[in-house]
Amino acid sequence: MIGRSRAIALAGLAGHVVDVEAHLAAALPAFTIVGLPDASLQESRDRVRAATSSSGLDWPTRRITVNLSPASLPKSGSATDLAIAVAVLAAATQVDSRAAARSVYIGELGLDGAVRPVRGVLPAVAAAVAAGLPNVVVSSANAAEAALVQGARVTGVASLGELARLLGNEHALLAPPPKANVVHTTATLPAQLDLADVRGQEEARRALEIAAAGGHHLFMVGAPGAGKTMLAARLPSLLPPLDNADAVAATSIHSLCGSFDPSEGLLSRPPFEAPHHSASAAAIVGGGSAIARPGAISRAHGGVLFLDEAPEFPARILDTLRQPLESGEIVLHRAYGAARYPSRFQLVLAANPCPCGNRGVRGKACSCSPIVARRYLARLSGPLLDRIDIRIDVAPVRRGATEGEATVVVAERVARARAAARERFSGLGWSANAQASSRWLRASTPSTSLAAGQAALDRGSVSARGLDRALRVAWSISDLAGIPAPTATHVLEALSLRNGSLT
């Protein structure tokens, strides 16, 4: 007698359909799970058995062998509990085996028979639907999240007994509904912050607006209290909402991390991640044993990664950002295989001008020796700074600074600039000016404007690569101004946005 059901094994965001088979043999009672289960999955035997008894169903006194196929794929976690229970009940003819085989089951079982929510339901259900299995049974606490996947036919159940009844067993008992919800660890979206809160700082606000318009990475140097963090935290609200593909990818990441609230639907606002400089490499880029979990750079996918006190981050960790900055994703290899996570984020770095923070600030004395001060910013490696288009100094706010434009006004301009760039790049596969190639920039920038940049190149005040970056920024400036191509003035403004404390 063989019972069948299906589960999903997640390796990173990629889900694989797992066929669960249960075989009952007339031999001394035993319960074994084969097919590369890890230790956490072996524990599911005890949960499944207890949940079955608590649901008023008979546990077969047979030798039960559960096989998870393909047997070569490593499997982990508690989300297969429900599929294993259904396969065993089907093998024991306690539920209708043909109905049982029709669905994919994703859920953890409690000893009382409750079906508990699990993390990563969104990518798991998406994988099931992509594999042509639209019937999905999840915990009722996960049903809203599962329903976000287009084409999924979701059934939410609160207990194993409820599921057994749906599958034709009239004697099953209903367990009390689960109390525990998915643990939401972090609030990923800051409360909507308004740019109008930032007083003065006209230059920095302008740089922020240009960065938002072109998707440019940004580096701010300034004394403590100058408002760098305030500015960075307001960048996500300037960015346009995520497009559909990015929304699904970002929501899947946050589903895996347990840091998303399904009642609001897919994440549509660009996320904001600000890891502390004491964070480990695994926390920033993702890590963990068996299968690596996503880190801050993936949680920032489609949004902003803000590294405050950037020179305080170990150089090793900052350098791990280079691959995702280049390719927009990260591949993490671990014992149980490689996990691939999207990580296309806009990088915002902030730094004090020196360890004490007073260097170059009017009315304050810097207590750092020149060599210490110089070494401080030099901790940021050349290859990383090479990828940053805009570098500005942020000076402390002076008395009498006026309130600036509100977020809605600026976001409106940014949205128009982004739309213009998207239209221009429609055949080229880029979505923002920051992605434009050097060849395209040299060919498409009007020659008079290009000449202004080349004069700077001849003077030696900018490198060839630096000029490319300035040209990208110049296109964002012209997009904001609503004109078709940058003028010489725009190129000069872009060049001035490279002349922070570091060049």
Binding site: A26, A27, L28, P29, T61
Partner: protein, 118 residues
């Protein structure tokens, strides 16, 4: 005799009768040595079978067959060897069966025969 021993005895009687009805030749019952006891030693075809009978009145403490643990099985193997050494007859094959007997408060006994468990 304690009540539980009487229940066990009753179960063994039921099983022995059934085996003979199926044409098995029962060679010994409750054969003892210093290692322990074999409930039933019988011949099924040419095969020697050591039958362990487990009898329960309720399932409160688990099903009868669950009471046969790995440790118990290895003791049964040693017992079969000891029994074979004690007499001269030779057999084509040797196996151990477990027969689970559940005695409900009313109605007939439920017998489940598990073949070649160890």
């Amino acid at each position: 005799m304690a009540a539980k021993d009487e229940v066990g005895r009753h179960g063994e009687n039921i099983v022995a009768r059934r085996l003979e009805e199926h044409g098995w030749e029962v060679l010994a019952r409750n054969w003892r040595c210093e290692l322990g006891e074999l409930d039933i030693v019988a011949v099924d075809g040419g095969e020697l079978v050591a039958v362990e009978v487990k009898t329960r009145r309720t399932a409160t403490f688990g099903s009868p067959q669950e009471a046969v643990t790995g440790e118990k099985l290895s003791r049964l193997r040693k017992l079969v060897a000891a029994w074979l050494a004690s007499q001269d007859r030779r057999f084509a094959a040797i196996r151990i069966d477990v027969v689970a007997v559940t005695l409900p408060r009313a109605g007939a006994a439920v017998v489940e025969h598990l073949r070649a468990v160890g």
